[in-house]
Symmetry: C2
Subunit: 426 residues, 2 copies
């Protein structure tokens, strides 16, 4: 079905401060694109088939700007360490298993199933260094109907041999082969994914830079997450004055190379200015930053600067795929930051985190994350009747409550770029 | 059934650092009391009927040391304010509705149902100022099989007239009447509940002190939660040198009056010493303390001092009844405190928060919260098969993961003091 109407309580952001709610209104989908939201359905759409979700809450699909698919297997485990020790002790050990395609198959089935059942419609996903396993992950996500950028990870130093590229020539060859083979997919696109500077040699970064230009690819990586990591990058890259420069000198830091940098907790003024100037997206992952004792990113500062920000689950440093949970924790962490670090930065509010989870992160995919006219039609329908209360709530209150309380069982339908992924019995 | 055996992976704390796991072992219940946990069932128990939960996880019932039942209606709502403004804007407005017994009936049905389905077997619950509604709440909790202390709230100043006691004589009369009427219950006991110093006059506290002695009652209240609140208490009680003294001068601060003080975020040295000396229980409510931007309590300090600590959901400043979530957030907040406030206090670990959620808080109820011999038999059976992963996990890892990921749907059986509350189809 290419053209249809969804009826329900439609909630979406125009800006971070403008949360629009149309009670029992109509969102119109025409060829996968939103033709607008209406309180009264215009005559021209009256012949369109109708999904009737009267009284339910309808929101744009949520966007996960930063998630590691192979780490989903150990979500909720091994959270007693800081970043570098955590990578060496838990993460690299697990990711090495993905050289075994049967293991990858079993694991990515679970990841894909849970992502499918969540409120997420778009994701930027890290695979592992392995071409075959990453291709399999892309295939599974493609088949699920979720739209995603997925990256074969590149890394060639400071990691176990089993996870390192053999040499930069092989890395170049493998990565190009993977990029070429990814052309078969429609909903899923490749994204360059150097793990982070400590595990990527200058030679590897140079090779990736060539591929970036050759195939005009976006990129995703990590930035200024942990104080020890930042110090390490300083030592590894003595000719850079801040962490972000180590990506920028290979022309992989925004502008012609659309870039997501996860975390940006400890970015200094120069780094923030470059992030802004070159339109780098910040993926804010509050649960991860808490679990790894990394700190709290100054998201208020980034919003004030007009920097592009979205939310990430950052599985498995974050334990949950739920972007609702990321919204809640973005508010909570911003409150603790206000209380404990800097009273000049006010806490984030409901309207702001809802924006970050939809239109904020969605912008990386184009016109995605809103029901404004011309946006790709991603929608999630939520039934909150199981969250009982004795009083009558406004739609705005119900939405607010869902940010704290929504579980996958509340999600009863999901649409991506117009395509209906599932409808559960109401 | 008074005597039986439960088989499964039995996990319980001896101390905050000693987490015992007996894989596919046997926990024996004799007349509501645990007769021990065995790897091989002793001959003398072989005739006992057997609940076979092989491969499932069995933990002591969780303890919620601080929860406001009437606030459950607005969980997840109105979290944009600090304590005093939050009370005036959201809480008092909602609690005033409980003068209407039909409203209370509807609301407390929902609260009781959700508490019943949770992993919580013991709770210390605030009602409202209303005698009739509080009695109704006690009746519902009694019928659910959960064991609880429940308090009619006392308050007579700095609050809306509709929520204040008419005068101290009436308060005394009402509270005594409520205490007397509470004698009909078996699983549910009354607890004195002066809301907190800012809403309780000296005269009211004096009257409650008389009732405390007359009926030998425990008490629960709030302490040193918010900096503005603490300053206010200083002004209201010029003759006290710290907040805790304002309870202590009425002999309601531990020792002969078993006492729970929620929060204790900003307690100074003298207050901490008195808490310790008089065996006051600290109810740590990390989600609440985050949502109201109150701060992060130094739980490591309290454990080091040997202070008694349990966890609280603190609905509705906390959004979730789940004590699993309280465990997760206790770890998370302690990490942020370590990172942002005080590097000398290491973060809490899995073993410690599991202890706090079971035996730590359970001690307020006597020998509760463990499967050690002689403890009241409170057990929760968890099926984690829906939390899929490709690798094989140890029982310890499965328990760790459940702290982050358990939902009510995973709880398939619950026992309180030997009584089976429910068994779901496995």
């Amino acid at each position: 079905m290419k053209n249809y109407v969804i009826k329900g309580n439609i909630c979406y952001s125009k800006t971070s401060n403008e949360l629009c709610i149309v009670e029992n209104g109509y969102a119109v989908c025409e060829n996968g694109i939103c033709a607008g939201v209406y309180k009264k359905l215009p005559e021209c759409y009256e012949t369109f088939p109708n999904y009737d979700y009267t009284d339910r809450i309808i929101i744009p699909g949520l966007v996960d700007l930063h998630v590691h698919a192979p780490q989903y297997s150990f979500r909720g485990l091994g959270m007693d360490l800081e970043l570098i020790e955590w990578l060496n002790t838990h993460t690299f050990v697990e990711e090495a298993k993905y050289s075994n395609i049967e293991y990858a198959d079993r694991s990515y089935d679970i990841f894909t199933e849970d992502l499918f059942n969540s409120a997420t419609t778009r994701a930027c996903i890290f695979g592992t260094v392995h071409v075959q396993a990453t291709h399999l992950l892309m295939k599974k996500i493609e088949n699920s109907g979720i739209k995603a950028y997925i990256g074969k990870v590149n890394m060639d130093r400071n990691s176990p041999k089993s996870l390192c590229e053999k040499n930069v020539e092989q890395a170049f060859y493998d990565t190009e082969k993977w990029i070429m083979e990814s052309q078969e997919f429609k909903s899923v696109k490749p994204i360059l994914t150097p793990r982070f500077i400590p595990t990527c040699s200058d030679e590897l970064m140079e090779k990736l830079s060539i591929l970036q230009k050759r195939y005009d690819l976006p990129m995703q990586s990590h930035l200024s997450e942990n104080l020890g990591e930042i110090q390490w990058v300083k030592e590894l890259c003595p000719n850079t004055s801040f962490y972000g420069e180590a990506y920028n000198k290979y022309h992989m830091f925004g502008n012609e190379c659309p870039t997501i940098m996860a975390h940006c907790i400890h970015s200094g003024e120069d780094e923030i200015n470059l992030i802004k100037k070159q339109n780098v997206f910040v993926a804010h992952c509050p649960e991860s930053n808490t679990n790894l004792s990394s700190g709290i990113a100054p998201i208020r500062t980034y919003l004030d600067h007009g920097i592009k920000v979205g939310l990430g689950s950052d599985i498995a440093a974050g334990s949950s795929l739920s972007i609702f949970k990321a919204m809640t924790m973005a508010i909570q962490c911003s409150k603790l930051r206000w209380r404990l670090v800097d009273k000049s930065l006010t806490a984030l509010n409901i309207s702001e985190v809802f924006y970050l989870a939809t239109k904020g992160g969605g912008e990386f995919f184009g016109k995605v994350g809103s029901f404004e006219k011309g946006y790709e039609f991603d929608a999630v329908v939520i039934d909150d009747i199981s969250i009982k209360c004795p009083q009558t709530l406004s739609v705005r209150e119900r939405l607010e409550r869902l940010i704290y309380l929504a579980e996958d069982k509340n999600i009863i339908a999901k649409f991506v770029n117009g395509r209906n992924l599932f409808e559960k019995v109401k």
